[in-house]
């Protein structure tokens, strides 16, 4: 059912993923005067609008509210953008998948690489904001380690969504609604409630934990405590293998279904 992949195959998959990500990156910025600044403009505008409303409400409750807001936005955006992309990762590459016996994983990994790049641009923004707010920058040194595991979690979700997307063609519409609901349910621009329905939802919302951890690292400069480290590592590794497993057992069937 699932066979072992050789180091050469892994190298080839990564090379293909990078090539596809480059193509997608180029196509996205095709014919645009502001090119890659679109990557920054989108979160910046959302940030500006939410800051306008949230600052008055939360500036006295949440220390460094602008940073709190931007960390929440960029972490959630990375998850949402990568998963949105993954839903059509297989179906939009029908011409390749139906005409050659090819590894399917790169079509999904390419999305993660592409959105990691835009995430890196957003981190530069965060760095700039932290400098303006005179927040110590030590947390930014730990963040790459956190992001490594977060990417693994997102990649697992992406593999799962790519698989389901082959069988349910309107999954992108379903996810557009559910993703938006999850966005509102996650405390991105407001304080995490200590009781009530939202509190219960967030108990089972892994993105809430990732957002909170990212905030603890960047805003408070905390190194990860044992409990958080165990959660981040375990949930990432579990999600990655769950996603990869479902993708691997179905991937040979993709060509007949698209």
């Amino acid at each position: 059912m699932i066979r072992k992949i050789s180091p050469d195959e892994i190298k080839h998959i990564l090379y293909l993923s990078l090539s596809l990500a480059k193509v997608r990156f180029k196509l996205r910025n095709e014919g645009s005067f502001i090119g890659i600044f679109w990557y920054l403009l989108e979160p910046l505008l959302t940030f500006a609008i939410l800051l306008l409303f949230g600052h008055a409400l939360y500036q006295n409750i949440i220390p460094h509210y602008p940073l709190y807001l931007l960390v929440g936005l960029v972490v959630f955006n990375f998850f949402l953008a990568a998963t949105n992309f993954s839903i059509k990762a297989i179906t939009s590459n029908e011409s390749f998948i139906k005409s050659m016996d090819i590894a399917k994983e790169p079509f999904v990994i390419a999305g993660l690489i592409q959105y990691s790049f835009s995430h890196a641009c957003e981190i530069v923004l965060l760095l700039f904001l932290a400098l303006c707010l005179k927040v110590p920058l030590t947390g930014f040194l730990v963040y790459p380690l956190f992001f490594l595991f977060f990417s693994l979690f997102v990649l697992g979700c992406s593999f799962l969504f790519a698989t389901i997307g082959v069988y349910i063609k309107d999954l992108s519409n379903v996810w557009a609604v559910l993703g938006r609901l999850l966005w509102f349910a996650t405390p991105i621009f407001y304080v995490a409630p200590k009781e009530g329905a939202l509190y219960l939802i967030n108990l089972f919302n892994p993105i809430f934990y990732f957002v909170s951890t990212a905030r603890a690292i960047i805003i408070n400069g905390q190194t990860l405590d044992l409990g958080t480290t165990v959660f981040v590592v375990l949930s990432s590794v579990l999600m990655f293998f769950l996603g990869l497993f479902s993708f691997s057992i179905r991937k040979k069937d993709f060509a007949s279904r698209i």
Partner: protein, 254 residues
């Protein structure tokens, strides 16, 4: 040496998914399990191909030729029966598949070459050869959407054929991909190149509606009808019977 051995091969497609593939439909399908609609694309197909054989596949659209080739090429999984492939098999379909119109010719060569398994070193080595063969040296930095269909065919054929050259395929599975590339001069060049491949390969299976090609190049032919082998044998006999059945059907419709 037997290169391909196919035994009682079957393949069916889920028509429900093809017709209605939304989340709600999937949920409703779960509720009424057992009422699955399927199309039998291949049924109990068996044959063998040995080294040096060129087998032609003839049959109407939707008869199962492409499905058979895709199973042999490792693209589709069979639902029943067995397939044994001895050697490296490469499936060749419409060459223009995978080209991205908004990329330049050079970028498309890099993309398709990479997808076909060329490493960066291979690409650097083969690039000039691919461009020279296509005869489109002046257009390398032009985006492909500005190309005519003939130019697209030239680019696609040249990239595909030079990319698969690296793999030295033992078995070629050619699906309607002969002699439709560019103008007459290029078609001749393309046919010569393809002939080189055919000569080097141990076994070739060639599906085409151009019956002259089947008669000229194949030493055996299979006529597939509704997913089953209708007749197998000498290409002239098989093609004649196939043409006769088509004429008969046309007459009966009239």
């Amino acid at each position: 040496m037997i290169r391909i051995k196919v035994c009682n091969l079957s393949k069916k497609f889920d028509l429900d998914i093809a017709h209605n593939d939304g989340a709600l439909a999937a949920f409703l399908r779960l509720l009424k399990a057992g009422e699955k609609q399927e199309r039998q694309a291949l049924q109990e197909v068996s044959f063998e191909a040995g080294s040096g054989e060129i087998i032609g596949l003839v049959g109407r659209n939707g008869s199962g030729k492409t499905t058979l080739l895709r199973i042999l090429g490792g693209i589709y999984l069979p639902d029943g029966g067995s397939v044994e492939i001895n050697g490296k098999a490469v499936y060749l379909a419409g060459y223009a598949q995978g080209l991205v119109p908004k990329l330049t010719m050079l970028e498309n060569i890099q993309l398709v070459g990479t997808m076909r398994g060329l490493s960066p070193q291979d690409l650097r080595r083969k690039l000039d050869e691919i461009i020279a063969f296509s005869g489109l040296e002046e257009y390398t930095h032009i985006k492909v959407y500005q190309f005519s269909s003939g130019m697209i065919n030239r680019l696609a054929f040249s990239t595909t054929i030079h990319s698969i050259e690296k793999h030295n395929p033992d078995i070629l599975l050619i699906d309607e991909a002969l002699g439709s590339s560019g103008d007459i001069d290029f078609q001749e060049k393309a046919m010569q190149k393809l002939n080189e491949f055919v000569r080097k390969s141990s076994a070739v299976i060639l599906a085409s509606h151009r019956l002259g090609i089947i008669r000229k190049y194949c030493n055996r032919a299979l006529w597939i009808e509704k997913g089953q082998i209708q007749k197998s044998g000498n290409p002239d006999d098989v093609v004649n019977d196939y043409v006769f059945s088509k004429k008969e059907q046309t007459t009966s419709i009239k």
